[in-house]
Every structure is written in structure tokens, then in C-alpha cells.
């Protein structure tokens, strides 16, 4: 027996918050003479990837000052002191995550 009657039900979904659009930072005209931080966010066992990355960057862009840093503690933790340092001393940042 089929039910041809139509019913209304309640929406099971929750409330996603409104999205505030965040503009990206202006880009650099060149990497030459600039200080670029290469940050390991500390996902387990990603260090080897980071070491190869910075080796290659130094090989291919020798006029850039590449600075290697490890974020503190676990990969899901913030590191405000590092961001302050990058703002003060850096011109850009590459951040690598593992998995």
C-alpha cells in the first residue's frame, strides 16, 4: 500500500554561523632579498619532508633567506609567539602539514 499523502517535517540540521570574509595579505613582488619562514606544524613524522623542502628551496632560490621553524607542541596547538616573530622579521611563510 503506498502513501500518497504529503507531510511536512522539521529540518534536522544545525545552524552554521555566518561567514566573515577575510582578505588575503598583499603578495610580494619578488622573493629575492626577502625572509621567508618555512614552518613545520608538527604533524607526526613530517620532519623529513620539511628538511627536503628547505633544501630544495635554498638550492633553487639562493637569494632568499629561508628560515626553518618548528611550531610548538602538537600540530593542533597555536603558536602566537612564532606568528609575532614572523610578522616582525619575515616577509612570507610556507607552512607544511603532514599525514
Amino acid at each position: 500500500m503506498t502513501d500518497g499523502n504529503k507531510i511536512t517535517v522539521l529540518n534536522p540540521l544545525g545552524h552554521p554561523p555566518p561567514i566573515k570574509l577575510e582578505p588575503m595579505a598583499p603578495r610580494l613582488d619578488t622573493l629575492d632579498g626577502k625572509t621567508i619562514y618555512v614552518v613545520d606544524v608538527k604533524f607526526p613524522a613530517s620532519k623529513i619532508f620539511g628538511e627536503e623542502l628547505i633544501k630544495i628551496l635554498k638550492e633553487q632560490y639562493p637569494d632568499t633567506n629561508w628560515v626553518y621553524r618548528e611550531k610548538i607542541a602538537e600540530y593542533f596547538e597555536d603558536d602566537p609567539a612564532l606568528w609575532v616573530e614572523i610578522k616582525a622579521k619575515g616577509h612570507g611563510m610556507i607552512q607544511f602539514v603532514g599525514h
Binding site: 507531510i7 610556507i94 599525514h99
Partner: protein, 440 residues
């Protein structure tokens, strides 16, 4: 994103498996166009030459050379979209339909709002009926939930929890338990690539009031309250907690069958040995309080036997449980009795003994998951220099145990039907407890 907002151009490098979760998270945080470079998955635990090849090779998503893409991400001027400000509102309709019952079952299923089994359709009448199970107002906020950081948190109210409770087939008297679970903000469907098991334990008088199972077939599939409360947790994790979309917000490589109803049960407090407190009392509640406690982790095993020295067997089991995220066991009352006869006069005493006696397997001490850096690198250096006891420990064969306590806390709960002295255990971590009485 934090550094971008400080005015410094950035480029994240992510493995390709996470393309959708990353893009979704960036969209939700308002920077959908952040120039992300992808490399072939995986990167963790890969040797140097393989990592080098991935860096010198192409982004599997865009096809561009990875190094060139990194540089372009930092130097190419912003587009109009990348520089935009403002807000994107995402309103939500309260009602769905009108549509036939069959059509709604298909709609809910195809939208990924169910566990892919038929649901009880949440009509206004059914939701109004289940709301009689709580004194709280329908529009009262219950909490917020995310499948993991960095996904955005969604918020939800009493009515919306009730909708998911109806879908799970719950009765009004189960609603306070489901609300208490929702109030913790803990998801049953954690994003991770590992397929987490989730568990919910109910304590207090409500167990008997709603006829929960804590005897034969404790973990299922034999009880309405256990099944529908557990299923409701998964549904609300999916629908209210912004979770459960495979490849996007759920990355569990093999999935987890437990997540249909989770390991939902009640502690059999009446059969605790003398001096053993109910789990919620251990967490600071009074015995007459009703509370719910949540757990999750990687592994869960079903164990048992007829050996008389039960504590040694348990110790041996946890010695080799070295994966994420904690340690938990649920003992049949007969097993708890055996341990009590061995001299463990409280859960705390048993936990302390395990903390002092669960040691490291040799391989895990030195090379956790095959990486020396993840083990005990300082002790490894001392061992290579011939310093004892590390030097002798390094010579121990595979399978041996290093006599260093791991200091693991084990959550101990008692439930089961006493048909045999079995128990279940694994690497589940305690996450949160919540008062059920507040939601009655």
C-alpha cells in the same frame, strides 16, 4: 590564516587526500581562496627521496609544479575575490516538505542526514511529543559541535536535538540523555583518517527509569534505549555537529561499524564490587545524580577466558595497546568479582596498579611506529654510549618488555550479564561527562 591576517603572505602545503576538508575549512573561515599547494599523499613516515620527488613533482590537484606553485602563491598579485570583505549569511529553513513519506526518506538519505537506515520522520507532532521529555524550551541553545578543529562549529537548540532524537526512534523519556550528550559538544564522528570508535556510558537512576540494558547483550543489539540514544548521537553529530560527510568532514579510511549506534550502554552499578564506585561518581557526581560520559579512540576488543589471574592478563593486554588515544575497559561483573578477590578493593587501586605495571614493549620504546625519533631518542643515545640500564635494554629481543611504567590511566566500568567472566577494552580516551538531570 592567522599570519595572513597579520599582513604576511602565506602558502600552506597539504597532502592531496585533504583537498576537500581544507577547502571547506577555509571557506567556513572566510578565506576560501587561500592559495594552498597540494602534494601527493602521504608524507608522514616517508623517506627523504620520496619526499623530494613529491616536492619536485606536480601538485596532483592543479598539475602545476609544486615549487613553482609555492613561489607563485607568494608573489602573484591578489585577485578581486582574494581581497574581498563582508559576510555570507547561511539561513536555515525550519520545515521541509510537503512531500510523501517515501520521498522524505529518500531525501534525508540522499542528503546524508541519516545512517543510511530508515528513520522515523520528524513531523511537528512527533517532535512536539518527544519534547515532553524535557522541561527546557525548544529554542534554548544546547551547544556547539564540530567534527574536529579546524572545521567550523555549528550551534543547535533543544528542538533541533529533538528532531534528531525522533529520527533515531527515541522515546520522550530518552530525550534528557540525548540532550546531555549534545550539550557536551563531543562528536561521535571524529574527522580523523583513523575510524574512531565512540562510546557512551550512562550512570545514575535514569538507567532503570528508561530501562537501559546493562546485562546480557549490554552493547547490543537488544535494547531500545541503548540503540536509539547511541544512534541519536551519530545523527546529531552528522546533522547538528557539521559532521559525517565522507571525504569532506569524515576521513576514516575504513569507517567504523560501531558508529551506527556507538557503544551505548549503562553501567551496572548494582553489581559493582564493594568499594568500587560508579564511573560518574569517580568524575565528581553524586550516586543519585544521572550523568552521561563519552569516550573515543582507535581500538576496541572483546576479551575473556577462564584464567584465574585476571589482572596479569589485563596488564598484558594494555602493554600492547599503544595506539591512540587512552585506555578503557568494561568488565563483566564476574570479571570485576575476580579482580576484587585478587585484592583490588577499588577501581582506583586497580588503575594505580595498571599505571605502575603496564610497561613498554621493546619495539615501541625505541621505535614508535618504526621511527626512532618518536620513541625515546635521548635514552637511545645513552644506550649507544653503553650507559646502563639503556644499553642492556637495547639488546633485549623483540617481544620483550622494557621495565619502564607507561603511567597510563585506565577508565574502568562494569556492565554485563554474568554468563561468563568476559570483558571488553581498548584505547578509548575519556572525553567528557554531562548531567542528565539538567535536561529532564
Amino acid at each position: 590564516m592567522t599570519v595572513e591576517k597579520l599582513g604576511i603572505p602565506t602558502v600552506p602545503i597539504v597532502t592531496s587526500t585533504f583537498e576537500w576538508p581544507v577547502k571547506n575549512a577555509l571557506y567556513a573561515k572566510g578565506m576560501a581562496n587561500l592559495r594552498t599547494v597540494f602534494v601527493p599523499h602521504p608524507v608522514a613516515y616517508r623517506p627523504a627521496d620520496e619526499c623530494r620527488d613529491k616536492i619536485l613533482g606536480n601538485d596532483p590537484i592543479t598539475g602545476k609544479q609544486v615549487i613553482r606553485e609555492i613561489v607563485e602563491a607568494l608573489t602573484t598579485p591578489l585577485t578581486e575575490d582574494e581581497a574581498k570583505t563582508g559576510f555570507i549569511e547561511r539561513p536555515r529553513e525550519r520545515l521541509i516538505g510537503p512531500e510523501t513519506s517515501e520521498g522524505l526518506q529518500i531525501l534525508f538519505r540522499e542528503n546524508g542526514w541519516t545512517s543510511y537506515l530508515p528513520i522515523v520522520l520528524p513531523t511537528e507532532e512527533k517532535v512536539a511529543a518527544i519534547l515532553k521529555g524535557t522541561h527546557r524550551q525548544p529554542d534554548e541553545k544546547v551547544g556547539e559541535m564540530q567534527p574536529s578543529s579546524p572545521h567550523e562549529k555549528w550551534s543547535y537548540n533543544v528542538e533541533e536535538v529533538a528532531v534528531n532524537a525522533v529520527m533515531a526512534g527515541a522515546k520522550p523519556e530518552f530525550l534528557p540523555v540525548i540532550l546531555a550528550i549534545a550539550a557536551t559538544g563531543v562528536t561521535a564522528l571524529f574527522t580523523s583518517t583513523n575510524s574512531f570508535t565512540a562510546m557512551v556510558c550512562v550512570n545514575g537512576p535514569i538507567r532503570r527509569e528508561i530501562n537501559m540494558n546493562m546485562s546480557i547483550g549490554t552493547f547490543g543489539p537488544f535494547n531500545h534505549a541503548n540503540a536509539s540514544i547511541g544512534n541519536a548521537w551519530s545523527l546529531l553529530s552528522r546533522n547538528l555537529g557539521n559532521g559525517g560527510a565522507p571525504g569532506k568532514k569524515y576521513m576514516g579510511s575504513q569507517g567504523q561499524g560501531h558508529n551506527y549506534t556507538n557503544l551505548c550502554f549503562a553501567e551496572r552499578e548494582e553489581r559493582l564490587p564493594p568499594g568500587w564506585n560508579p564511573f560518574h561518581v569517580q568524575k565528581g557526581y553524586k550516586p543519585e545524580d544521572s550523568a552521561v560520559s563519552l569516550f573515543h579512540g582507535w581500538s576496541w576488543s572483546n576479551l575473556g577466558g577462564f584464567e584465574s589471574n585476571r589482572s596479569k592478563f589485563i596488564k598484558r593486554f594494555f602493554t600492547y595497546q599503544t595506539e591512540c588515544c587512552g585506555q578503557t575497559m568494561v568488565l563483566d561483573p564476574l570479571t570485576a568479582d575476580q579482580l576484587y578477590k585478587e585484592g583490588f578493593n577499588s577501581k582506583e587501586q586497580l588503575n594505580q596498579w595498571l599505571k605502575e605495571n603496564v610497561m613498554f614493549p621493546q619495539e615501541e620504546y625505541w621505535y614508535y611506529r618504526g621511527f626512532q625519533s618518536q620513541g625515546h631518542p635521548q635514552e637511545f643515545e645513552l644506550a649507544k654510549k653503553g650507559i646502563e640500564p639503556y644499553a642492556s635494554w637495547l639488546k633485549l629481543p623483540e617481544g620483550a618488555v622494557i621495565p619502564v611504567p607507561r603511567g597510563v590511566d585506565v577508565n574502568i566500568i562494569v556492565a554485563g550479564g554474568e554468563t561468563n567472566p568476559y570483558w571488553q577494552g581498548g584505547t578509548l580516551q575519556y572525553l567528557a561527562s554531562s548531567s542528565i538531570d539538567e535536561w529532564r
